[in-house]
Symmetry: C2
Subunit: 216 residues, 2 copies
DNA sequence: GTCCTGGATGACCACCTGGTCATCGCATGA
DNA sequence: TCATGCGATGACCAGGTGGTCATCCAGGAC
């Protein structure tokens, strides 16, 4: 059933394969699934429209391939971070995640934006499957962190595990969003100046201590 | 220049005006601006396509009218909350905002979803203007809250005002999103059971105290 | 040199979109 | 009873979409 991409596609030069993948990511990232245009894509690439359908069968087939490819990249990055912070404490790990995550979304901005669209576009064909994969990769990741933090008594057990994960997810999500392309995005004017390190410290501090006044 | 809606529209029965507004909100809420279809809208309403253009000139004109109308409803709600909590402390006010905000998004789910689309769709024609209005209504609102909390020394001045507002905005945003239509949304499976009151308490507690272990 | 074949090609298709406008029904006023 | 004109109407338009497929061409086999 799922016989795409065809063998024909695997025979084209790796360079052209890469160019197609890259352009497709850019197209989906810029416009989301529905507004993305195959015509625009092939014009930018300078190849025939028929080729895309020869390779991937349909627009959705193209998207599936692009998604699967990028999932590998992201998974590898997450695995790398996990390996390199396994024995650190909760907030150190979180800090590392933030710093390297920031570098990652800046290095792969299109990829990041494409995932945002998957998360938000409720009319994406086959959305449930994609969503589950993204969730598995990101939220389960946070859940593992939180569990370890609770087990090591680095976190106060005031909150349920689920809320903790949800709040962290919300904060990291927005944090990356705001810092990934500071420019003409809607949320960008009001971030204070400072280095990434300082920004991360602000977020970590908030997560650790909250906003409340502490009696002194 | 901005002569829409036409006088013709103001002459149609209020009931029909209401039906059009309601259906348009539902359409934009369900599909976002670009995927929203005038054909679908007029079929659902049982009126002629020409009428919509007679009244509003264009799709964008229709959207502008819908947005302006709903802005009134939202502004009034915010004003109401502000009046009724003016002399309370920061966390009490925040709690009230959360409880009544929850009721509001459940009472006007379409309206809430439409605003989400405005916030996220970067290809929305005239987006900057809409964005500024939404921001003014929501983020400036939070900024006022935070300023008062800092002035009254209810909040620890560890963080910059900007980060505080941003973090709060991110948390409230996700909180409403997750609790507004618990069901088949992507983020819904993992909310713990409990009443709204309990959920609000969880969020307030997190915002006040953070996650860190407190020495005892 | 002559086949043969895999695959690149782009004209073409049905469908849908936002938008237009000639037509006509109806309510009003004389 | 007729004339007027407002506004509801939907057939129609140009343009864009995802998708198809007859055509053609380059390169290998003999």
């Amino acid at each position: 059933m799922n016989d795409y991409p065809t063998t024909t596609f695997h025979k084209v030069p790796a360079q052209k394969q890469g160019a197609i993948l890259e352009a497709a990511i850019a197209e989906f990232a810029a416009y989301g699934y529905h507004q993305a245009s195959i015509n625009r894509l092939v014009n930018r690439l300078g190849i025939a429209k028929g080729s895309i359908f020869q390779y991937f069968g349909s627009k959705q087939g193209l998207f599936e391939h692009v998604f699967a490819q990028t999932k590998e990249i992201v998974s590898e990055h997450l695995r790398f971070i996990r390996e390199h912070t396994r024995d650190k404490d909760f907030f150190t790990r979180l800090s590392t995640i933030l710093i390297s995550g920031l570098a990652f979304v800046r290095e792969h901005p299109g990829l990041y934006r494409m995932y945002m669209h998957v998360l938000r576009d409720e009319h994406l064909p086959g959305r449930a499957a994609y969503l589950q994969q993204v969730r598995t990769a990101s939220r389960a990741y946070l859940a593992g962190l939180v569990d370890q933090g609770l087990a090591n008594q680095e976190l106060a057990p005031d909150l349920s595990r689920e809320w903790t994960v949800l709040f962290l997810d919300a904060l990291l999500d927005r944090f990356f969003q705001v810092l990934s392309d500071p420019g003409q995005d809607g949320n960008s004017q009001d971030i204070p100046p400072g280095t990434d390190q300082e920004h991360v410290q602000s977020l970590i501090h908030f997560i650790r201590k909250g906003l409340g006044q502490r009696k002194s």
